[in-house]
Symmetry: C2
Subunit: 321 residues, 2 copies
């Protein structure tokens, strides 16, 4: 399907679930049974790369039939250098082989030929020496930072149009200090994030899919529900990627304003709450490898039920679910 | 030396040159003699990684005694996946072995544990499975995007303090659309970039080196000299990383306001103007591999002379040069 929003929405319908899982593995939280035999490796970076991929593939095995998409956070792979990036590439391939949409949380940004390089590497195809063009990361979606303005965003839009992939542009993030820049009030009383929202809306109109949503989406934190309500109106065709549920304090009720009345328009992410669910008392009564698997799966199911039930309460479930 | 600004300023003194070279290789512009024998490789990504590293090492050989620092732009490596990142790592090691300061232009940004992962991977040390901490990219400096506010920047500051490395925070970028966000006027008539400048100044005070400059610097484009003059006053202890000279239209005169009256306080970058100098008519009369080498070297010398002479004209050369 040649539009990322169409692919994502179809997958959401298939799973009847707008919740996604962030693949943000940190080695101190990865279960010991996965580390044993690797700790004294002669090639410790390679061992960590293998560990990250094995951890992710176990999570993917448990959740691929429950959620429409996964969101690997590039920082946690890149921090281990090129062997970490190799594990990232393997994770993407495995997730795609299981039918999942893959959203890279990379928050990339630059201008001109550099932005084009990021866009082609992550959501397009790169030039090879023989003149061919090949996909590299081959992501369905990439998150992008708007601080450099529209000429920092257009090279990504070009790939959305040509390759049928998508981006989520940071508009209002979920962290406490997001307001230091994003909430600054302008002369006309609008906060900065509303200007970004207008820019996103303008760009979104150039890549509308068959289901009337754009493959240019927006990151809107679950921790600011009133803001989300306003932004929902300013960017009617953009799907919101919503961080901040669970670990960062956003509740199921808080994320409802991110959805349109048709029941679509947002995906809600949880990372640690799912992948490290085995560390919570709730799931951790008798810890075995199987318990680790079950905890992640159960946490993904619990999150789905929590969000779907909150959407049902406010009449925002898709009519045919 | 435990402060990145001290290391950078000493290297500037040694070379009597505040100009740096951006290592932004694009394969269509890399000379043919470097590509021959690699084009039909069975492992085309590995062949490109080797090409990028060989190209960079030739440039470094020609300029390491002229400039204080190089600035590899991560996008041009990352776009070829983990084998591109491997070439990036090899480039950093080679540049450091030649005594150069290395500034990664990555414009990374995120919050909380994710920002910490970027900071540790790029300018700090990461946790290994055995509990040790190892440097990965081991950069002297990384560029960072401020859109997420101070809790997106503090994890990087921590590494500046603990590891003695540095960051350059985007304040006012050189591209035409930078004003769409950065120039927006607030209720109090200040543009957004001045708020970012105040935040940079506040953060910069926590990592001042022996030479009274901070290892928290700012990216300030050469294409807006009046703005640079204002920003110079708002961030007196921050070194400015100045893009936009040459290819993007900034002249030697335009960059002078980025310097303090002591002759320090800025480094001026040129990428394509140096590394692809061999493509300019001026240097390209009889093109051989040696001519390619000479063109890069001569372009680096010409740039140094251009900037140093402009600084001399406005009385901004360090007194002892």
């Amino acid at each position: 399907m040649k539009n990322a929003a169409d692919r994502l929405l179809n997958e959401i319908d298939k799973k009847k679930n707008p919740c996604i899982v962030g693949l943000d593995p940190t080695i101190d939280k990865i279960p010991k049974f996965l580390k044993s035999g690797r700790i004294d490796s002669d090639d410790p970076f390679n061992a960590i790369g293998e560990l990250l991929f094995e951890f992710n593939s176990m999570i993917i095995d448990q959740i691929h039939d429950i959620v429409p998409a996964v969101k690997p956070q590039m920082a946690f792979y890149e921090m281990y250098g090129h062997l970490g990036v190799k594990a990232f590439e393997e994770t993407i391939k495995y997730a795609k082989s299981k039918g999942l949409i893959v959203i890279e949380d990379g928050k990339r940004n630059d201008i001109g030929s550099t932005a084009t390089a990021y866009a082609k590497g992550h959501i397009g195809r790169v030039s090879m020496m023989d003149g061919c063009h090949m996909p590299v990361f081959d992501m369905d979606y990439l998150t992008v930072n708007p601080y450099l303005g529209s000429d920092g965003l257009k090279p990504f839009i070009t790939e959305c149009q040509e390759e049928g992939n998508g981006i989520f542009i940071l508009v209002k993030t979920s962290n406490p200090s997001s307001g230091e820049l994003q909430d600054l009030l302008l002369e006309d009383k609008r906060p900065v994030f509303e200007v970004v929202a207008s820019l996103v809306d303008e760009l979104s109109n150039s890549v509308i899919g068959e289901r009337n949503y754009s493959s240019v989406g927006a990151v809107v934190g679950a921790t600011y529900p009133e803001t989300a309500e306003k932004l929902r109106k300013l960017m009617p065709k953009s799907i919101f990627l919503v961080p901040g549920y669970g670990a960062q304090g956003g509740s199921a009720k808080d994320v409802c304003p991110c959805f349109n009345t048709d029941g679509y328009g947002a995906i809600v992410n949880s990372s640690r709450g799912i992948i490290f669910a085995y560390l919570k008392d709730k799931y951790n009564k008798e810890f075995t490898p199987e318990e680790f698997h079950k905890a992640a799966r159960q946490a993904a199911i619990d999150m789905r039920d929590d969000i779907v039930s909150a959407l049902n309460d406010v009449d925002k479930l898709p009519a045919h679910w």
